[in-house]
Each structure stands twice: as C-alpha cells, then as structure tokens.
Amino acid sequence: MTAVKAAAPARARTRDKAVRARGAGAVAAFATPLAVIAVLCLAAPLLPVPDPSVQVLSDALKPPAWLDGGDWSHPLGTDHLGRDVFARILYGGMLTFLIAIAGMLAGAIPGTLLGLISGFYRGRADTVISRFVEAQLALPFILLAIAIIAGSGRSLPGLVLVLALFGWAQYARVVRAETLSLRERPFVLGLRCAGVPTPRILLAHMLPNVAGTVLVLTTLQIGTVILAESALSFLGLGVVSPQISWGAMLADGRAHLTTAWWVAAFPGLAITVCVLLVNLLGDALRSWLDPKKRRY
C-alpha cells in the first residue's frame, strides 16, 4: 500500500497564522509596559533613587516637581515624614508585585489541582469540592480576611494565605468546567482504554489543555490580588510600616488628602494603571489563545 504523506491545507494555515500574529501583537503591546514597570519595581534597590525609608522631616509634604515649592530631587513630592514618594512607589511596587505573585500562585496551584480532580473524577469528590468552592465564593473576601487576620495577627505569610483563599475557588471552578468537557473527548476515552493511569491523564493531558485558560485567569488574578492586598493594607491589615506597599501608602495619604493630595494620588494611580494593564493583557491573552472566544 502506498504510503500517504501529510499535507495540511495551506490556505487555512496562513490565515490561522495571521490571526495568531495579530493576537500576539496585542499581548506584546500590554505585556511590555507591564514588564517594564515590574522590572523597575523589582530592581528598586539597584536604582539611583533616594532611600524610601529615610525620614527628613524638614522636607515633609513637598509637592511634586512641576508645582510651586517642588523640585526635581523629589519628582513626585514627599510624604508627611519627608520620604520621597517616587522612591516609595518603586519600593512599594516591589512588595506589591511579589505579594501579588505569591498570593496568586498559592491560590492557583491548589485551585487548579482541585478543579482537575473534581472535573475528572466527578461523583463524590466533585460534590464535596464544589460545595467548598461555592462556600468560599459566598464569603465576602474582606470580611473573611479581617476575621482571619484579627484572629492570627498581621504577617506576610498570613497575608499570602488570605490572598490564596481569595483566589483558589475561581481556579477550581473554571478548571472543573473545562475538565468536565475535555473528559468527554474521544482521546480521553482512548487513553483510559489503553490503560493510562488517571493521574497521568490528569497531569499530562488535561492540564496542558486547560493551561491556556489557567494562564488567562492567572493574569487576571494578579490584578484582583493587587486590589485585594491594597484594600487590606489600606485598612491596616496587610502590609504595615516599615514595609511599603501601594495600599499602605494610600492609608498614609488619606490623612493628608487636603493638604498633600500627591501622597495618595500617585500610589492609587500606580495601582490603577498596573491592574488595567494586567486586565488588558489577560483579555488579549484570552483572544490570542482562542480567537473564537468572545472578548468579554
């Protein structure tokens, strides 16, 4: 029998490539500024900015450089203790990003695993896990965070734990839904028929196929985690002095809102811009990985 060679339809391939290239462009357009900001913040100690913790009370509440009374040694002004706002934004960004990534991972990993298990095995495991997912989603996040932190005190690990609790249920729910439908695909039947052990099916076949969705969710979650951490820090429950995060800076800034608006304005602007970029990136990723999915 003459052998049959592979020849995928050429036109479909080039069209596919064009769509994917456009999608990739959007992803790059949002990922780049975000990466730049993140790198700058994470490299803060290496940058030539003043020490963010040094208090120079004589310099307190100086306005940003472009207003009267400001100068370029403190481009964004100083806070009530004379600390440079710009430097604090960079250092604050470092902690904000690190906590966001840690919190997100701490939620993503158990959430994805539980989603895979409950979607694939179904039955009792699914019922139990789903109940917990719903229960988690029923608890208003900040209240739960308050309850835990009030009970256990402030600490960075505690904060990351709280943020993990905030996120895991979303992963579990989304991954479960995808796994449920993937499970019915013929190739899974084939694998089970061939005796491939279920854990291997989950990790080597289900997981890579849900990876796209998880990636999108992960990106979007970074944004929500940043917002959550800022809210907690703003309320005094998250990051507290001497550590700096954008939320904590906002707490400081509130007291001086009328006299020194810049202390509150810039950290909040930083949060908004970063979360917006993250959301745009997440949407672009979603479109890129599956152009058939709606933008919303």
């Binding site: 592979a6 995928a8 013929p186 190739f187 084939g190 028929c193």
Partner: protein, 276 residues
Amino acid sequence: MTQEGRILDVDGLSVVHRARGTGEPFAAVDDVSLHIDAGEIVGVVGESGSGKTSLAMAVAGLGTITSGTITVAGVRVGRRLTKEERTRVQVVLQDPHGSLDPRQTVRRGLRELRRIHPARTAWITDEELLAKVGLAADLLDRLPHQISGGQAQRVAIARALLLRPSLLLADEPTSALDVSVQAQILRLLLDLRATENLSILFISHDLAVVRTICDRVHVMLRGRIVERGPTAEVFDHPTHDYTRRLLAAIPGRRAAATYEETYEDAYDGAAPGGAR
C-alpha cells in the same frame, strides 16, 4: 498476534442509565448476547439511540454494566481492569482528530503508550507500525491538526494495534470521513484482519459500510438485537420489519455489496490504496 477461539463473548448484557431530566431508569442495552470468534469482523447496526454506543463502551471497559457478562479472550470485562487486561480491547472512535490529544505529536503519543506497557509494545518500531497502517514515517513529528482526518484515523488504528489487542472495537470509524477516505480505512481494516488475524467489532449506523466488511451482522433497536446472521443473508433476506426499513432507506442501494464491488465502482477498477 495469533488468536484462537472465542474472542468476545457478551452474555445477557444490560446497561441501565438514568434519564437526564426525570431521573427515570431506562435500559440502553437490554439483554444482549453476541460473540466474536478469532479473525471475524462482526457488525452491530442501529440508529442513534439504539444502544450501540452503550454496548461499545461496556465492551471496551469504559461504560457501566448493570447485569450480564462480557468476556474478552478469557478475561471478564468491567470498569475495574488492570493495565494489562485493558490492552485486550482497543478502540477506534468516530472523530479522528478528537481521538488524539491536540497537544501531542504522534511520536510522543506512541512513546507514552510504550512507557505504560513497555513489554507489550516492544514488538514493533514506530516507523514499522505506521507502515502497517499505510503512513509514512514523517508523520511521527506532526501534531493532530497538521494531518488529515484519514491520516488521524490511521494513527488511531496504529495506537490501538501497538497494544496487540485481541479485539478491536471500531465505533463509527468512518462516519466522519469522506467516501474515498472511508474506502481506504475499510480496506486497512480488512487487511489488518488478514495479516494480524485481528478480530473486529464494527459498530455503525451505515448499513452500506457494514455490508462491505462484516462477516456477520446484528441489528439493534432500542437496546435489543432484533436480527442477526451472516451479512449476505441479513441483507438479502431480512426477517425483521425494522431491518427491512433500514435497508430500504439506503440511498442508491446496489445489488452488489462486497468491498471491491462497492468501491471499485467509485474508482474505475483501481482499488484505493494503490498496488494491492
């Protein structure tokens, strides 16, 4: 892969499901018995809802068995089987591309099977295996979306073959393919039966296809087998009303119905697949 004797023995099989909306139990498969001996290609024909898929899943060890027994090459089939036991029945399903993990190249897929069953799969190399199903070795490094439907189905058959099953369960293997490609796949199955002494349980709604390659055929209606017998006999002298209706519904029904007769017409005497 020489096999002897009774390969498949289904005895009084019933599969009871619960209906979606109401939860009422209904019998997808109702007291079905059939058997396959070594080297036979046996067909099960029915419309959707006849229970043929439930039957197939049960035989493959992937679906529920409410009562009755299924024995494949001496092994009782159920939901819980060892890896080794599972190799005795392998499946080829309707959706060729859906049967392959979209993220795995053909080679990686085969390698995975080899890792799970190292001894059992040592008998042939990847290249030789692909050659057996009429594919060139350069397909090994392709992803499913880079090969055609017919090729994907051949890969599925290759994957099944690799594990040296006693029984190949083909559930609508050609329904999603073009007529010309259908012919090739059916030819392949016939050839494999000859060279590997493979026994095949062939499930389809398409009578014309069943006629071309099955030695014996069973007609299924609402979970029961209403007619059975050698293919020619059932087609030429149907006894059950339902069978007659099915036969009457075949468009452009021909008198001739062996493989060569059916597809030779479409190909002006040259059997698809080239030399043979």
